[in-house]
Each structure stands twice: as structure tokens, then as C-alpha cells.
């Protein structure tokens, strides 16, 4: 793989993208999970698919090369994020309803644009399941920009995002502008999802934002640790997933999620064994 990495630019770009996505997806994912919004990534990824299909359709129909499907995917994802925020405002008592609405709209539009762009082809297949050789140099630059934006924002707003995630009312009383921070947060989510799709694909992008966090929560002792361990688990999954995907010629979305699931399974098992051993040590209390 190392030899191939040095030789092929597309592969190299994918690997760099993988490393960036392995960092920003679990980082943002930690906030998403503790806010109990895990499904938001699923909703937005399907809207992004509609954008990608729209881009493919436009390319085919009008040979518009200024905007690639990646760009239209990002645009749709951001619009989807804004609609979710708006719907959550309209349905205050049923905020979760925004996700199925946006998800079905995304799938509906995807079907229409995929059909218009002449059905399922290898391009769509790589968007659905990820690809080890799909990231062009300009895509990579855009993903680097997105990653920098997300890292700077999280660093600058960490305390506010944390307070809002834990106790929104207290955060508001403290003078935190909840609406603005929510908006920035959902914008970041849309951007991270569109960046991650090249690697893990539409169907599994939410896994990269939630599985490493779920694993991390079983071992971390604090919120900061949860973030750090999530990133470590995310990076391990992306690196092993990309390498195995390359060797076995499997779309990396599948291999990354399988590695993530294995890490989760092993962590749960480790916790169980640790608990049993500790209980056994206390055996002198019995009888």
C-alpha cells in the first residue's frame, strides 16, 4: 500500500482525506451524540446524496464543469441543515420530526435526480459506499478548508458548545447566544458530512460520527477524554478500513464501519471482563 500511496495521487488524496475525516467526524460526533441528535447525520447525508445526484445530472445534461457533484452535495447539505433548524423551530415539542422529514425529502430528490442522470452507475455507487480512489486534488483542498474551519470553530466555541449541549437553559441565562451557536453547529455538521461522504459513503457517514463516540463513552472519564478517545477510535477505523478496503477491493465505507464495530465490541467485552474481575476480587464479601 505504501508503494501505491507514493505512486497514485488519488489514493494519496483519499488517505489524507481519511485522516482529516477521522479527526473531524468523531470530534463533531461527540457533541451530536451527547445532544441526542445521532440521527441528524443520517438525515443530512441523504440530502447530500440528492445534491450529489443533482450535480451528476447537471454535469450530464449541461456539461457544467464549474460545479462538481461534490460542490452541489455541500450546497444541498447546508440547505438541508437550515431546513432542519427551521423545522425544529416550527415543531418545538416534536423536534425529532425534522429528521424523518428531511431524510425522506433527501431520498425522494435523490431518486429523481439519479433517474434523470441515467440511473445507478459507478459514480453513484462510490458516493453510496465510499471509494479509495475518489478524491481529486481540488476536493482535497476543499476538505482541508472544511477541516480547518471546523477545528477553529470548535476550539473557539468549545465552552459554549459544551454548556449548550449539557444544559441549554443555563447556557442561555449565562448570555450564550444559543440560536447563533446552533446555527454554526448545524452548518459544521453539514460540512463534515459532505466531506466524509467521499470516504465512507452516504449510507455509512453517520456511523463514523457515532460509532467511535459510542465506544469512547464506555471508557472515557470526562467530556474531553470522550472527544480524544473518539478521535483515536475514528482514526484507527479509517486507517485500517482504508488499507483493508484497498487490499480486498471493497468500498472503504464497509470496512471502516466493520473496524469501528469491532472496536466497539472489543471495548464492551473488555469492560465486562474488567467488571467481572473486580467483582471476583471482592469475593471475600460473599457468604
Amino acid at each position: 500500500m505504501l508503494e501505491a500511496l507514493l505512486k497514485f495521487e488519488l489514493l494519496r488524496n483519499t488517505f489524507y482525506t481519511g485522516l482529516l475525516v477521522g479527526l473531524i467526524a468523531p470530534l463533531l460526533g461527540t457533541f451530536i451524540v451527547v445532544r441526542r441528535q445521532s440521527m441528524i447525520a443520517d438525515g443530512l447525508s441523504h440530502v447530500t446524496l440528492a445534491g450529489l445526484a443533482f450535480g451528476l445530472f447537471m454535469q450530464k445534461k449541461y456539461t457544467l464543469l464549474m460545479f462538481t457533484p461534490f460542490h452541489t452535495g455541500i450546497a444541498f447539505s447546508i440547505i438541508g441543515a437550515l431546513i432542519i433548524e427551521n423545522l425544529r423551530d416550527v415543531y418545538k415539542a416534536f423536534q425529532e420530526i425534522a429528521i424523518p422529514i428531511i431524510l425522506s425529502m433527501g431520498v425522494g430528490l435523490s431518486i429523481v435526480f439519479i433517474a434523470l442522470a441515467d440511473g445507478i452507475n459507478t459514480n453513484i455507487f462510490s458516493y453510496l459506499f465510499g471509494s479509495v480512489a475518489a478524491v481529486s486534488r481540488s476536493d482535497l483542498y476543499l476538505i482541508i478548508t472544511i477541516s480547518l474551519f471546523v477545528l477553529i470553530m470548535i476550539f473557539a466555541l468549545y465552552q459554549k458548545l459544551f454548556a449548550l449541549s449539557f444544559d441549554e437553559e443555563f447556557a442561555k441565562v449565562s448570555g450564550i447566544q444559543a440560536k447563533l451557536i446552533h446555527f454554526i453547529f448545524i452548518l459544521m455538521t453539514a460540512l463534515v458530512i459532505s466531506a466524509s461522504i467521499r470516504i465512507v459513503g452516504v449510507l455509512l457517514v453517520s456511523a463514523l460520527m457515532t460509532l467511535p463516540v459510542a465506544t469512547s463513552m464506555r471508557v472515557a472519564k470526562s467530556f474531553k477524554q470522550t472527544i480524544i478517545y473518539s478521535i483515536i477510535y475514528g482514526e484507527i477505523a479509517v486507517i485500517l478500513g482504508l488499507i483493508s478496503g484497498y487490499y480486498f477491493e471493497i468500498p472503504p465505507g464497509g470496512t471502516i464501519v466493520i473496524v469501528s464495530s469491532l472496536l466497539l465490541g472489543l471495548t464492551l467485552l473488555y469492560n465486562k471482563v474488567k467488571f467481572k474481575v473486580a467483582l471476583k476480587k471482592d469475593d471475600h464479601y460473599a457468604a
Binding site: Q159, F162, A163, D167, S174, G175, K221, S222, Q225
Partner: protein, 247 residues
């Protein structure tokens, strides 16, 4: 005579054509410990949300530290422990230190200074040894102390607590009120304690405010206690039977 830090003038508030608050006029004086009591649905929470600026004022005026509430920039002068604090997600992976640090408003503080403030706030509520414990692992009473520490870490001048003893067992409730009394006397924090348990709080508060849509009594808790039951029921706006608590 102390200065009013909060002035509420002619406030009226309505939900769906129905008045939940009307003719509300009172001052909260600096250094006082106000007990805001009233039956369920009497408008207590709405009133404090108006004072905190998280509910939009419909009619009347509220001044906080001489500023109209709409223009008041809090910056840590008023803090809050909500009714919902103890119904947070118990699985949330946060340590006591992280929870208390949420209350630090200023971004200018050094890491060391922040740490000192957190320890100081936790010491006030006797929870300094729980710094690195997970918030979800603590008992209801301990969690509520942590939320108080979070509320006082930026040294507010006014602390508002909305039914903070929900979910705290009766023995700890007494300790809890004693703690509030200490914060009021020792640190000079003005307190507003919202409660529906009039009997329990009259020993500790300096001012009693009985609310049931409008204010039915505002004054010394001792005078209120000495009134005949019937008169108190009228003032309270609701039938009451006082239960004497052992302190």
C-alpha cells in the same frame, strides 16, 4: 435601606389569552433572601424566566441593576439553578470540574485562575473532593450542590433557584437550605428561592413573596407565620395547611 437590584413594575403575562401573571410589582433588595412561594401553576417559573430574560416581557417593566431587562447584559451578575438541572441526561460524560467550569463566563482567565475559582465554588458547597467524579455517578442532592457551585463560580450578585430541592431527600433538603442561608450571609449573594413548600423555607428566608397569578403577600416571613390559617390562605391565594418541619 438596601438598594433594589431587581424592580418589577406592573408586569402582566399571558399564555393563549389567559393571564398567568397580573399586577406584579415588587423589588428585590440587595442582600435579601427572598422566598417566592405559590401553588403549582401560580406563575412562579414564568416570573423568574422574565427576570432572567429568557422569557420575553409582554407588558410592564423589569429593571435589573437599574437597566431595563431587555437591554441588560448579564455577564455573570445573575445566575440560575433551574428546576430541570437535576433532570439532565445522567449518561452525559462530564466530570464535576467540567460542569462547574460551564459557569465561568470570562474567557480572559488563566487556566490556574479558573481552577482556583472552581475549587473555591466547590468548597462553598462542600464538594471539593468530588472534582474528578462523573456527574452522573452522584446522588440527587450532591448533583444539586454541584449545580449551585456552577451557578456561583463567577461570583454572581443574585442567584435564582427554581425548586432546587425536587429529587432531594428530606434530610438533605434541610442541609440544602442551610447551605443557601450560608451563601446569603457569608458571601453576601442575594437569593431568590422558588418553592411550593412554604413551611420549610420560612425559617431561612428574609422576605416572603406569595404568588398566585398576582402577589398576595410580600413581607416578613415571621408576620406571615403568625397570621391565622384562614387569612394566610386568602393571602396565599390557595388553601394551605402548614406542616411544621423539624429543624
Amino acid at each position: 435601606m438596601s438598594k433594589p437590584i431587581i424592580s418589577v413594575k406592573n408586569v402582566l403575562h399571558r399564555y393563549d389569552q389567559q393571564n398567568v401573571l397580573e399586577h406584579i410589582n415588587f423589588d428585590i433588595l440587595k442582600g435579601s433572601f427572598v422566598g417566592l412561594v405559590g401553588p403549582n401553576g401560580s406563575g412562579k417559573t414564568t416570573l423568574i424566566k422574565l427576570i432572567l430574560g429568557i422569557e420575553k416581557l409582554q407588558k410592564g417593566q423589569i429593571f435589573a441593576f437599574d437597566h431595563p431587562i431587555q437591554k441588560f447584559k448579564n455577564k455573570g451578575r445573575i445566575s440560575y439553578v433551574s428546576q430541570k438541572s437535576n433532570s439532565f441526561n445522567r449518561g452525559f460524560p462530564a466530570t464535576v470540574k467540567e460542569v462547574v467550569s460551564m459557569g465561568i463566563i470570562s474567557n480572559q482567565l488563566s487556566k490556574k485562575k479558573k481552577y482556583e475559582q472552581i475549587i473555591h465554588a466547590l468548597t462553598q458547597v462542600n464538594m471539593e473532593h468530588y472534582l474528578n467524579r462523573n456527574i452522573g455517578d452522584l446522588s440527587g442532592g450532591q448533583q444539586q450542590r454541584i449545580f449551585i457551585a456552577r451557578a456561583i463560580v463567577s461570583q454572581p450578585e443574585l442567584l435564582i433557584l427554581d425548586e432546587p430541592t425536587v429529587g432531594v431527600d428530606s434530610e438533605n433538603v434541610q442541609h440544602f437550605y442551610q447551605l443557601l442561608s450560608k451563601l446569603n450571609k457569608k458571601l453576601g449573594i442575594t437569593l431568590v428561592l422558588v418553592s411550593h413548600d412554604i413551611g420549610a423555607i420560612t425559617t431561612y428566608v428574609t422576605d416572603l413573596l406569595c404568588l398566585n397569578k398576582s402577589i398576595h403577600y410580600h413581607g416578613n416571613p415571621g408576620d406571615f407565620e403568625n397570621m391565622p390559617d384562614e387569612q394566610r390562605s386568602t393571602l396565599y391565594g390557595h388553601q394551605i395547611h402548614t406542616i411544621t418541619h423539624d429543624h
